[in-house]
């Protein structure tokens, strides 16, 4: 009893400190600009939804979210489409240099995104991909695909090869087997993979900001716009921050079971 009470207390303290910045963000997002600047207030004295209304009515604001969500979804889709066959090949077949290739995939992640900024910028500008959702999605694939292959390979190798063979013996063709039998068996892995590529793409700002200007401008870039002649609009910025946290929360909530299983089983 004594110990569990102390543990509970420890957890509460931990959660409290963890949530302070988030509370403060939410707190600010419901305040008017004057109140934010007028000193310490633990909760909004003059509660307002103005900041949120601005974001949802001004297209230059809400399109930031739309753009971000678009290229993040694109990135997730491309990553899975590319990584699933690749991981299957690494898991099931032997070919010359397979182990080396598998390892060197990861080296892409050893360099910071900034290294690839210039080549991507130049390449995309010259082939007309600049300022499109595809530009950002494709550049993010450079980082999300290797990780996805690693995670998925772990999950696939946990499925006994005999299941593949039994399916062929039963008469399944390869594509039919892959979709009907194999994918459901590694659904946790797919969930975990989707989660990680979302995570990377959603928080990455450098490539996303540099490879876009107007049409595909991500929310992260839009948020820097609040610095105007009147100074920084703290309330509006806070509201944008709250809305930026939400998709992440939603995705984590959706894949929470898969991720827990993934940590226990696979290669995360």
């Amino acid at each position: 009893m004594q110990i569990s009470k102390r543990k509970g207390l420890g957890l509460s303290v931990y959660l409290f400190f963890l949530l302070i910045p988030i509370y403060w963000l939410i707190n600010m997002s419901f305040k008017k600009k004057d109140e934010v600047l007028s000193g310490l207030s633990l909760w909004p004295r003059d509660f307002t939804l103005e900041n949120y209304i601005t974001i949802f009515t001004d297209s230059s604001w809400y399109m930031g979210y739309v753009n971000s969500l678009l290229y993040v979804s694109l990135n997730m889709a491309i990553t899975l489409l590319v990584a699933l066959p690749a991981a299957y090949a690494f898991s099931r077949y032997k070919f010359i240099g397979d182990k080396h290739l598998f390892f060197w995939l990861l080296t892409n992640r050893m360099a910071p995104p900034a290294v690839f900024l210039l080549p991507f910028f130049q390449l995309y500008s010259s082939i007309g991909l600049f300022d499109t959702h595809w530009a950002v999605a494709l550049s993010h694939c450079l980082f999300s695909v290797p990780l996805a292959v690693w995670i998925l390979e772990g999950f696939m190798s946990a499925v006994p090869r005999e299941i593949d063979e039994t399916a062929y013996i039963d008469g399944y063709s390869f594509p039919h087997f892959f979709v009907r039998i194999f994918l459901p068996l590694i659904s946790s892995g797919i969930g975990v993979t989707a989660f990680f590529s979302f995570l990377f793409s959603w928080v990455e700002l450098l490539l996303a900001r540099t490879l876009t200007s107007v049409e595909a401008k991500p929310i992260g870039a839009v948020m820097t716009r609040t610095i105007s002649a009147e100074g920084i609009d703290w309330g509006l910025l806070a509201a944008a921050g709250v809305l930026t946290i939400l998709p992440g929360l939603l995705v984590i909530w959706l894949v929470r079971n898969h991720v827990a299983k993934g940590f226990a089983l696979g290669r995360v």
Binding site: I163, T166, A167, I169, G171, L185
Partner: protein
């Protein structure tokens, strides 16, 4: 539909898995592949199934060359040692899957699934998922899936190894019954001599990728072609004693000797290896000419309801199989009786010279 393999070799990464396999299996036959782990049983089955391609040689079905034909088009089924089912499908859908893929109509599928499930006593679990079942039920599901379609070749790769003793006995006898009414070729791989004998049919002994001997199971057991065959088809392994034949006498080591009896009278002088099965040696004499041996107990090993007695003497070691559980002190002196009319005789190259159980003596 008959299945034959013609001088099949398999080399994987420089390792010889199968060497010059010639085998012909007839419809309606029950074929046991007996061999130790890594003897090539699984490799051979994978060739038969079409999961692997032989490095050289041909696989024929009904005389037609099917060597390169993919497994989907071969009409075979296979049960693995591990319990392999589709975890995301119910037992019913697991069993139905080969039929559905063959575009059998729904009513027929339902009927055959029920029949097969009934036969293997898994009807109550049809709507469960395989992983919710016990090991025995999972393996029954896998067997049902293999049996539900009219495969012309059904392969069992040590299907009962991972089950407990009682369940193994039960499933084995059921399996044998099931095949009496089928006209398929059944191939059953096992490491256990007793299982091969219990299943009957034809036994093929495999050792290091080669076929040592093929024939009706009982005959192979009675007349092993050589020392390896005798050793493979004996649990615990057959006792081998090297000896000499000289002046109408057999001499083991230096001290033990006995006159050639009726069965052995044709042996010429020279060196031989004499084999005797552990179960044939007794603690009491059964015949006047039984050879009395004074030995020392090294170890008494209890296996199920049997005791394997490892004995030693300055000349040779013996293993004796006794029914019942017995306790012995290490180093205790003991007298055992070796029936000389049950001695297998091999020459020094290991080939059979004489079997005491041969139906027709040369």
């Amino acid at each position: 539909m008959s299945l034959s393999l013609e001088s099949v070799d398999s080399v994987v990464n420089g390792n010889l898995h199968l060497s010059q396999i010639n085998l012909s299996l007839q419809p309606g036959s029950f074929n046991v592949l007996l061999g130790r782990t890594l003897a090539g049983k699984t490799s051979l089955m994978r060739m038969m199934a079409g999961l692997d391609r032989p490095t050289s040689g041909r696989v024929l079905m009904d005389g037609a060359d099917v060597t390169g034909i993919p497994v989907q088009k071969r009409n075979i089924s296979m049960v693995y040692q591990q319990f392999i089912n589709y975890p995301n499908l119910t037992v019913r859908e697991n069993i139905a899957s080969p039929l559905r893929l063959a575009k059998t109509n729904a009513a027929e599928v339902e009927k055959r699934v029920l029949e097969t499930a009934d036969m293997l006593q898994i009807t109550p679990f049809l709507d469960s998922y395989p992983l919710a079942l016990s090991g025995g039920q999972q393996q029954r599901t896998a067997m049902a899936r293999a049996l539900v379609k009219d495969a012309s070749v059904i392969l069992f790769d040590e299907p009962l190894v991972n089950l407990d003793y009682k369940l193994r006995e039960e499933l084995r006898s059921e399996l044998r019954e099931l095949f009496k009414i089928r006209n398929a070729i059944a191939v059953y791989a096992t490491t256990e001599p007793n299982e091969a004998l219990a299943l009957g049919g034809t036994t093929t002994l495999l050792h290091e990728g080669k076929i040592i001997q093929t024939g009706p199971s009982a005959q192979v057991y009675r007349e092993p072609a050589n020392v390896i065959a005798a050793d493979l088809f004996s649990e615990p392994p057959i006792n081998l004693i090297s000896g000499q034949v000289k002046d109408n006498e057999v001499i083991f080591g230096e001290s033990v000797h006995f006159p050639l009896n009726q069965d052995l009278r044709n042996l010429t002088n020279g060196g031989y290896q004499f084999g005797v099965r552990p179960s044939h040696i007794g603690l009491v004499p059964h015949n006047d000419d039984d050879l009395e041996l004074s030995m020392k107990v090294e170890l008494a090993e209890i296996s199920g309801s049997e005791t394997f007695l490892h004995l030693t003497s300055p000349q040779f070691n013996l293993v004796v199989q006794l029914s019942g559980v017995h306790a012995y002190h290490t180093d205790a002196a003991i007298k055992v009786y070796l029936p000389i009319h049950k001695l297998f005789v091999f020459n020094l190259d290991g080939d059979m010279v004489q079997s005491p159980f041969a139906l027709v003596n040369a």
